[in-house]
Structure formats: structure tokens, C-alpha cells
């Protein structure tokens, strides 16, 4: 697996620059913030993991990156162009550069169309190549994802298992020659054995097609395996961003620590680190004051309810939003915004 984290990134390396992203949904008369001010960058060739529980806004963030969900505020700059400001043909063109893999492999393929046509669709939409050239490219891509084009091309998605559908879905996404692949829980609907096949496949294809990836999942063990950097999300906000190994060795946010503790280790002797996270995600309709995690945090103090901790760097490349991080220094009181 290639990493670019050890090379100094120049501005050319910046593929995606997301700033202060806010996404709101209307439910009846109320407005719910699914994403409340998220900022992160993705550099060329890296895989950024986005991890958190259901309802934390990670999938919404993913959908906003491909602009199937409009952003309420903030910018998503892909290679110098702000996607949130684009419409029409330019948006459609640029979208092909950012492709998405979905959680439910079966629902992400049109059940009424043949595999061959599904995979060829991106080329047909843009009228690329002749029929023969398209067929050839479909063959190559299906082979690249481990699907036999001869026996499978004329079948329909329901004739395939979940793992195979996910492979077809990946082949389709790569047909458009994307630079950035957003994987939204691509393996959480699959068996562990198939999960390993798909994760390995993604790693191979990433290298072969020089892809940059955003990998969204709830399982930190999976995210950590494929990602160079991991961003942990909680209730619409990023709480910690760090290199994968750094995050595992030196989790600074109590939430990250809890996430790590909840992964079942395939070893009967594994010590339970501590009681797994208790309680559930608070309602985003009425998020807690101050630090949003404080209601479930074993270390919460008065200050956590009063002030919202900003995302700050505690080590090079390691950011955390916590007043009392488990590693590094506590946030100086005067730097924190005044309580509102």
C-alpha cells in the first residue's frame, strides 16, 4: 500500500479541501444538522478513513462530497473548483472524477439491467469510445475486479452474491476514470471472509489506478486497515484526526478510545479494555452544549458542558477536539471560545 504521508505534500497534492461543511435536513418544521462544520483535506494517493457510529453524519458527509446531497454551508473544493457552487454540465462532468461505492451492494445496481450495461453506463453517458472499445473496457474492468465477463456479462444483479455485486459496483465506479473514490461502508453488509476479499481488492485497485480514497465505516478495525489517516466523527463534528497507527497507539479523544475498546478481538484471552461505550448517540435535534460527547464521556468535567472544544493540533498531523485529551496537553483555557 502506498502512502504519501512521508512525503511533504505540496498544494498540487491537495485533491479535496472541505471547509466548514454544514448539512441540514428539514424534518417538519425543525432543522436537523447532520453535519455541523467539518473541515478536512484529502491528499493525492492517500486514503482518509471516516469513522463513527450510525447517525454521526459520516455517510451524509460522503454523499455531500459527490453532491447528491446539497451542502447547507461551507465549501468542497476539488482540484481548485468549489463543487457546491457548480451546476449543470460542469457539475456532471466533474462528478465523474469523484465516484462512490455504496453500503448495500445489491441496491446499488439496477436490478433490471445486465451487468455489462451497468458497467458500461459511464462511458455511454459521455459517449466515450466506440461500441467495440467500450466492450473491451468493460471486459478489462470486470476482469480487474475478479468477475468473469463471459459468464457474467449478460446476467442481472440478483444472480450474484453480495460480494460479487460489490465487485461489479466497483468496476462501474472505475469506468469513469475517477481520481477520488468515496467508499460508504462498502463492506459492512458482507461476511468477514468476503469483507477481506473486497478490502484487498480495493487496495489493489487503488494502486493500479492511482486512486485517492475516502473510506467511511463504523468499524475502526476495518478503517484502520485500509486508511493512511483516520478522522473520527461524533454527532456531526470531527473529534479526532490522526495517522492510522498514531490513532491506535495514542488515541487522544475519549470517544476514539471507546471505539477502539468496542472492537471484538478474535482471541478468547483478549482483555476487555474497559466497559464499552454506554448509552446512545444523543439526538442531533438537540445536541448537548459544549462538547457533544460529554454526556457519554467517562472523563467529562464542568468545562466540557460550558465550552465547545475546538479541533486543535496536539502533535504533527494529530488533531483532537477535547479539553482534556488522553495524550498531549489540555487545552489552555484562554484559547477556548467563551461559553455562550
Amino acid at each position: 500500500m502506498t502512502t504519501v504521508s512521508d512525503t511533504v505534500p505540496g498544494t498540487d497534492d491537495l485533491v479535496l479541501d472541505v471547509r466548514d461543511l454544514v448539512v441540514e435536513f428539514k424534518t417538519g418544521r425543525q432543522r436537523v444538522q447532520a453535519v455541523s462544520g467539518v473541515t478536512f483535506q484529502v491528499r493525492r494517493g492517500e486514503t482518509l478513513g471516516l469513522v463513527g457510529e450510525s447517525g454521526c453524519g459520516k455517510s451524509t458527509t460522503g454523499r455531500t462530497l459527490v453532491q447528491v446531497q446539497p451542502a447547507t454551508a461551507g465549501t468542497i473544493v476539488y482540484r481548485g473548483e468549489d463543487l457546491t457552487a457548480l451546476t449543470g454540465r460542469r457539475l456532471r462532468q466533474l462528478r465523474t472524477k469523484i465516484q462512490m461505492i455504496f453500503q448495500d451492494p445489491i441496491s446499488s445496481l439496477n436490478p433490471r439491467r445486465r451487468v455489462r450495461d451497468i458497467v458500461a453506463e459511464p462511458l455511454v453517458i459521455w459517449g466515450r469510445g466506440t461500441k467495440a472499445e467500450r466492450d473491451q473496457k468493460v471486459r478489462e474492468m470486470l476482469e480487474a475486479v475478479g468477475i468473469d465477463p463471459d459468464s457474467s456479462g449478460d446476467r442481472r444483479p440478483q444472480e450474484f452474491s453480495g460480494g460479487q455485486c460489490q465487485r461489479i459496483s466497483i468496476a462501474r465506479a472505475l469506468m469513469a476514470d475517477p481520481e477520488l473514490l468515496i467508499c460508504d461502508e462498502p463492506v459492512s453488509a458482507l461476511d468477514v471472509s468476503v469483507q477481506a476479499q473486497i478490502l484487498n481488492l480495493l487496495a489493489d485497485l487503488k494502486e493500479r489506478f492511482s486512486l485517492t480514497m475516502v473510506f467511511i465505516a463504523h468499524d475502526l478495525a476495518v478503517v484502520k486497515t485500509v486508511s493512511d489517516r483516520v478522522a473520527v466523527m461524533y454527532l456531526g463534528k470531527l473529534v479526532e484526526v490522526a495517522g492510522s497507527d498514531e490513532l491506535y497507539r495514542q488515541a487522544a479523544h475519549p470517544y476514539t478510545e471507546a471505539l477502539l475498546a468496542s472492537i471484538p478481538e478474535p482471541d478468547p484471552d483478549a482483555q476487555e479494555l474497559q466497559p464499552a461505550l454506554s448509552g446512545e448517540l444523543p439526538s442531533p435535534l438537540d445536541p448537548p452544549s459544549g462538547c457533544r460527547f460529554r454526556t457519554r464521556c467517562p472523563y467529562a468535567q464542568e468545562r466540557c458542558a460550558a465550552e465547545e472544544p475546538p479541533l486543535r493540533e496536539i502533535a504533527p498531523g494529530h488533531q483532537v477536539a477535547c479539553h482534556f485529551p488522553l495524550h498531549g496537553t489540555p487545552a489552555p483555557a484562554d484559547q477556548a471560545p467563551a461559553p455562550t
Partner: protein, 319 residues
Amino acid sequence: MPDDRELASTHAADQLLGDRFPGMAATDELVVSRQSEALDSDDILLRRPLGILFWLALAWVAVVALAAIFANVLPLHNPNFQNYNAINQGPSFHYLLGTDDLGRDLLSRLVFGARVSLIVGFVSVAIGMAVGGTGGLVSGYLGGAVDGSLNALSFVILAYPAIVAVIAIVAFWGQSLWKITIIIGVGTIPLLFRVVRASSLSFANRDFVIAAKTMGATTPRILFREILPNVVPVALTFGLITVAGVIVIEGSLAFLGLSVKLPTPSWGNLISEGTSNGNISINPLILLWPSLCMFLLLLSINLIGDRLRQRFDIREGLL
């Protein structure tokens, strides 16, 4: 060699137990239901055969349709010719199904009557589908204000008793075949709109539609390539059932004397004739033939619709 085991689909397996367990759930307090991995031996990709009944039904619809289409060239008596020497005759070689109280050939009246019933049934639904179906497809996918207003409009129209409206319009506008077809056709628009819209809506936010968007597909392309193929089975099935319903409506209009003008036969007119002037007791055949034909036709259409739905339904089709 295409590997057969690759046909195996967990979905097929889900289906097997998913379909069968709910029945058991009713027998005990444990709630058993469709599981995403209910049966994990996943090798049941098989299509249920359509069955002999389906083919019989299709054959009957075909016979009726062909007879109606070729009524002019078939060796039939003039349906309106009154042979006073042969009143209320039973079936004979000359009059295969007998004659009515005016000495008209029942078979030929039946065949020409089928013409009216089928035209009213299929053409009016075609009109309804062209307008309501297309509207529903677009409205369901696009959503928003357009969808909101169209939806509200369809509710308003549906709230008005359709049969009363049709009767009023027919009485006012006239009783020709085409007028009746158009009136009933317009009447089916809101119904078909709602059905197609619901189906379109259910596919509008599927992942495969979102995937098509991210590939840069335009809205018309998504509508016709991604959504339409999924909506067609529902539309087709419901359309067939509507055809059956419309044939009944034509019959009701005829009963009220508001269908095509007599003596032009339609099945509704024939049934109406069969019940008037004491014909039921004098010559029940006048009533029997059109009623039987209509009954079998409606049964056939509904059966075909139901079997097609099963076949098209991806989950059910797998069994």
C-alpha cells in the same frame, strides 16, 4: 462453463424463507419474518413456471382479441340482422350460440360486442397510462413542488365519484364509442398517476439512481434508463387490472343505457338486453353468453396481471 453456483444468490435464499416464514409467524407468538440471511444455503435461483392457468387465460384473451379484430372477415351473420323466423332459438348449426328475442345471431353479436368492450378497456387505459403514467414517473422522481401539486390534484379528482362524473359527461357529450373511451380514459389518469408515482418514488433514492447521478447521467436518462424499467412491471400489472375494471364500467354504463347506442352490440349492452323484457326467463342464453365471456375475460386479465407481477417481481420471481 458458466458456473451454476454463481447463480446462487443470497437474495434467492432470503426469499425462500422470507416468503414462507410469515405464515408460521401467525401461528405463534414469536415474530418470525424476513431475514437478510434467513437461509444461508443460497442456491435457489429458479423461476417459478407460469403455470397452465396462465396460458389458458392468455389463450382466452387472445381468442377474444382476435375475434374482435377480425370480426368483419369472419363468416358471421350481420349482428344487427333480425331474422323473425328464428326468434329465441337455442344453439344450432346455423346459429352456434342461438338467437335473441329479435332473431339476431348471438355469436356474431358477442364477437362484435367484444370489439367495443376491448377497445374501451385497452384504449382508455392506454390514454390513462400515457398521461397519468408518464406524469407519475416524472413527478415521483423529481418530487418537490410539482409533485406536491400534481399529487394534490389527483387526490381532488379521485375524491369525486368517478362513475357519476362519467355518467354526467356521457349524457351531456354523447354516446359514441370514442367519446366513451376518452371519457373513461381521462377518468383513469389520476389512478394510474398515483400507482406509477408511488413506484417511481420508491426507486428515486435508491443507490443505483444515486450512482447514475454521480456518473453524470442527465435527468431524462435516469428517468428512462434507471427508473422506467423498474416501474414498468408495476404499471403493466396495474394497467391490466384497470382494463378489467374499465370493461366493468362499460358494462355498468350499458346497463344504464349510456354506453354505445343500440343496436350496436357491446357486452354491456348484451347483458342489459339479456335482463330486459323478461328475457331472463324466456331465453337466458342472451344473458348467459356475454356474462360468461366477460367473467372469463376479467378472470383471465386479472390472472395474467397477477402472474406477470410475480414473474417481474425480482424477489418473488426467484422462486
